[in-house]
Amino acid sequence: MIINSRFFNRSELLGFLALAVLLFLVLPLSLDIFRLNLVAKYLTYAFVGIGLVLCWGYGGILSLGQGVFFGLGGYCMAMYLKLEASSVANTQIQSTPGIPDFMDWNQLTSLPFFWKPFHSFPVTLLAILLVPAVFALIIGAAMFKRRVGGVYFAIITQAIAAILTILIVGQQGYTGGINGITDLRTLHGWDIRTDHAKYILYFVEVALLFGCICAAQFIRLTKLGRILVAMREQEDRVRFSGYSVANFKIFAFCAAAVFAAIGGAMFTLEVGFMSPSFVGIVPSIEMVIYTAVGGRMSIFGAVWGALLVNFAKTSLSESFPQLWLFGLGALFIAVVLAFPNGLSGIWADHVQPRIDRLLASRKSKSAAGLIADGAPAE
């Protein structure tokens, strides 16, 4: 394998620029704020997708519980926003003013201890990153140290997603139950519901997304990224070479969890609520679908996958609600059977060679012209 010393090679740089132009210029200029907000919602799944590319595409660890981390990040943010929205002045009609409305409905009279840290904004930001990371560390350490992998890991992460959903729905007084945490208003005193705020949030999100893309690209290009690939292909050889396979897997899983959590926190800000329907098994598998469609080996593919599948979902389910699940199911089967590397694989196998050939034929023509002009016969 040729190791590229540059951060992006030529085609990746093109991909990066194309995505940047689309997200920073084309979409904000061409869409109204409602549609742009939808795009922002789709992009929150791109964060999860980038994490999955690292952990599933490169590390070979399929997690069916990314919704857990998406949800943890989202809930951390939502708890902060909810506490801000339920100040004593706003909640005077409740029997206990100053606690979130759903707690009041469920006869709670004081704030539970795990809500208290979320009064502070810096602690919340820290929690968004740390809570999922620590959670992933515990799961990862318990599983990978015992060499649980592959199918078993997928099923157990899925079970964890199920457990968390049941827990959130069941503990209505502490979590808001099936409705989730709704009616969020301000972030640190700044109203997030206005159109202006939505524009700003969109750009913040896109900037964060590019930050995550660069971070993932950095991980991919370092020795760590190559060890991940080696582990996926021949785990035992890596182990025999003296690497601690478990630690690398734990790292990849934690990184994916943190990316997902950032996406979840942005989701809460963009959409204005968080509910268990973004935590459970179905959303977790859908997140894997986006990544698989985009291409499990391509960071940009994951972003495109999240954008395109969600766009198709919205437009199809708007006009043909019956067809949508058929379409999604068929798409998924087709991707797995025929295009295991997704859209980016199609691009790399069919589109890229043509472009290269086109460029190469031009180059060789001009090169041939040069030789004809200048070079003397041998």
Binding site: L64, Q158, L337
Partner: protein, 308 residues
């Protein structure tokens, strides 16, 4: 927790919750048996297993309606016809799916998971389009209604007993087919070493197809039994799929006995806890315990010793 109950009350509660647990156990075993064959023996993760079960439930529902309209004299025994039809329908669909989808993916187990998830979405929407989004329930024949009064305080529903008897029968049948029939030997030979099994003249493709079909057919029977104790909707299969996978993994994937033992312990834990806690907390605690045990003992309760 035990608060105001007297000893005899507690005994009756335990007996009745234990029996409720036994019904749950029957459903788990029926669903997990099919999955244990498909996942444990073939290594295919069939996320659409719940949908095969629901197919069986819908077939039962249709049979019950048809019998009521066409041949009411048959009604007391319609369930046996429905069960056979459910087995055939789910098994045939399973063989079709194996031919179209699964056989291309034997070397990529994680991808079977994704592809069958897509299949389950399609099937769910198909059920919704054909049968409607509302849950349907079958009418039980008279002899299955009511309950048996064991003592003053213990009542045992007859349909529950019927489902349990059915479970025992099917378990014995599956064990016989897998471990004593020559076809079962072929299945296990193919699973252990595909190339060698082919070399001694076993038609491995055919064995794969029938094994998958058998697993799906048993899921169909499970769905059929399921209609006896609950109603069926298009997405009901999804509710059980994670539990069922946990049952199979917890028992040790390749062990039939392990599957039964784990179904028993999981269902009993859950139904006993359900009486003292809310249903959701009982489920959370049960699932958490399983996950915790699996983290300590990833190979499950009864693992075959295999050299990797």
């Amino acid at each position: 927790m035990f608060g105001d109950y007297s000893i005899s009350d507690l005994g009756a509660i335990l007996a009745m919750q234990g029996f409720a647990g036994l019904i749950l156990f029957s459903v788990y075993v029926l669903m997990a048996l099919g999955l244990a064959i498909i996942f444990g023996q073939m290594g295919v993760i069939n996320m659409a297993h719940g949908e095969f079960m629901i197919l069986g439930a819908y077939v039962t529902w249709m049979t019950s309606n048809a019998v009521q309209h066409v041949a009411p004299w048959l009604f007391p025994g319609y369930f046996f016809i429905a069960m056979i039809l459910a087995f055939i329908a789910s098994g045939a669909l399973g063989m079709l799916v194996e031919w179209a989808l699964i056989r291309h993916l034997y070397k990529r187990p994680l991808d079977t998971l994704l592809a069958t998830w897509g299949l389950s979405l399609i099937l769910q929407q198909a059920y919704r389009s054909i049968f409607g989004a509302r849950e349907v329930g079958v009418e039980l024949p008279e002899w299955m209604m009511g309950s048996w009064q064991a003592t003053d305080s213990i009542q045992i529903p007859i349909n529950g007993m019927f489902v349990m008897a059915l479970t025992i029968l099917i378990t014995i049948a599956v064990a016989y087919v897998l471990f004593w029939s020559s076809w079962g030997k072929q299945v296990r030979a193919v699973v252990q070493n595909r190339v060698m099994a082919g070399a001694v003249g076993i038609n491995t493709e055919k064995v794969d197809r029938y094994t998958f079909g058998l697993g799906c057919g048993i899921a169909g029977i499970a769905g059929s039994a399921f209609t006896m104790i609950g109603s069926t909707g298009p997405t009901a299969g999804q509710l059980y799929i994670v539990d069922t996978f946990l049952v199979v993994v917890f028992g040790g994937a390749a062990s039939l006995f392990g599957t039964i033992a784990s179904a028993f312990s999981i269902s009993q834990t859950q139904s006993t806890l359900e009486f003292f806690l809310s249903g959701s907390m009982a489920k959370v605690i049960t699932l958490l315990t399983i996950v915790a045990i699996l983290m300590v003992r990833p190979q499950g309760l009864f693992a075959l010793k295999v050299r990797k």
